[in-house]
């Protein structure tokens, strides 16, 4: 690592965050994200195949919900991702505002449409699950309502971005919305605990991974699919952040150096 200080004073130690800022240089990030993507995408697809097989074939039917419970394997990962992606978007936006880091803003902007789609998936699969179990497609229940607000936050974030011609102003304005909206995340997460919700409680809890609320033969496909969704999100995010970098970079001299084809 280059320890030479730019100011010329030898006393200043190299920042321990240097790697972080190197990572944030557009050409470096662009190349790195391209290298990471296949390592996220293929394991994700493999885990999905195994997880879906485990969930649809190997797991026994639930004693109450019968085979309808199998919707859990797509519903829970989608819902988890809808929250995780939002937190990531808000953290990236905050880093972008605090350190004025363009790459962080690019990550936040890239997160929004992916998170919105996961939210749509969670809402629709939940609705389809609710119909046979609760007898209704929709109920203004705390969990369902707060998840719908999450969707509106994503859509609002994207609409706000789209309303600015200047990227930097769009970054700053939308970052504030993303950061403020993060209060909705714990509300979604704990709505089933705080209020008397129609929605069932959590099947797996991070602090109690050893004793999930569902049987072992049912839980491992769920954990596998959750991991698969995270990796898949990572793969899609790589592509979208690279696109953001290209769209933001006015100076494209580095493009020919690294070969824009890859």
């Amino acid at each position: 690592m280059n320890t030479q200080s730019r100011t010329g004073t030898e006393s200043r130690p190299p920042s321990r965050w240097l790697w972080f800022f190197q990572l944030a240089s557009p050409p470096h990030a662009y190349r790195l994200l391209g290298l990471w993507r296949p390592w996220l995408l293929w394991p994700a697809l493999l885990l999905m195949a195994v997880g879906v097989y485990g969930g649809l074939v190997l797991a026994p039917p639930d004693y109450q919900q019968k085979d309808a419970f199998r919707i859990i394997y797509v519903h829970v990962p989608a819902a988890s991702l809808s929250l995780m992606v939002y937190v990531m978007m808000a953290v990236a936006a905050a880093i972008g505002v605090i350190w004025r880091m363009k790459l962080a803003h690019a990550v936040a902007a890239a997160c929004a449409p992916i998170g919105a789609w996961f939210t749509v998936l969670a809402l629709v699969t939940g609705s389809v699950w609710g119909k046979p179990m609760w007898g209704t497609w929709w109920e203004w229940d705390p969990r369902l309502t707060s998840e719908l607000i999450l969707l509106f936050l994503y859509l609002g974030y994207m609409a706000l971005r789209g309303s600015f011609d200047d990227v930097q102003r769009a970054d700053r304005a939308s970052a504030i919305l993303a950061i403020v909206g993060v209060v909705n995340v714990p509300i979604v997460k704990y709505s089933v605990v705080w209020w008397n919700s129609l929605h069932q409680g959590p099947s797996i809890t991070v602090t109690q991974l050893d004793k999930p609320a569902i049987a072992g033969s049912m839980v491992w496909p769920l954990l596998l699919l959750l991991l698969a969704f995270v990796l898949y999100f990572g793969a899609v995010l790589c592509t979208r952040v690279r696109t953001e970098i290209l769209q933001r970079e006015r100076n494209t001299a580095w493009l020919s150096e690294i070969g824009v084809e890859s």
């Binding site: 649809l56 199998r70 919707i71 797509v74 998936l121 699969t125 389809v128 979208r240 690279r242 696109t243």
Partner: protein, 56 residues
């Protein structure tokens, strides 16, 4: 268990398969559209680089 039983999903076939189908479509769609956008941005950047190169 026969294939028919499996597809029948204990009477919940419509609910279960529509959820899995929708998830597959959305996941594939987000990957596909992201790739398409990246290709478009790359082409745009390449064209810009060419114009810049021809001017200097």
């Amino acid at each position: 268990m026969s294939l028919g039983d499996f597809l029948h999903m204990g009477g919940y076939a419509g609910y279960v398969w529509s959820c899995y189908g929708l998830t597959a479509v959305v996941l594939f769609g987000m990957e596909w559209s992201s790739q398409r956008r990246l290709r478009a941005a790359q082409q745009h950047a390449r064209r810009r680089a060419q114009i810049a190169g021809s001017q200097s």
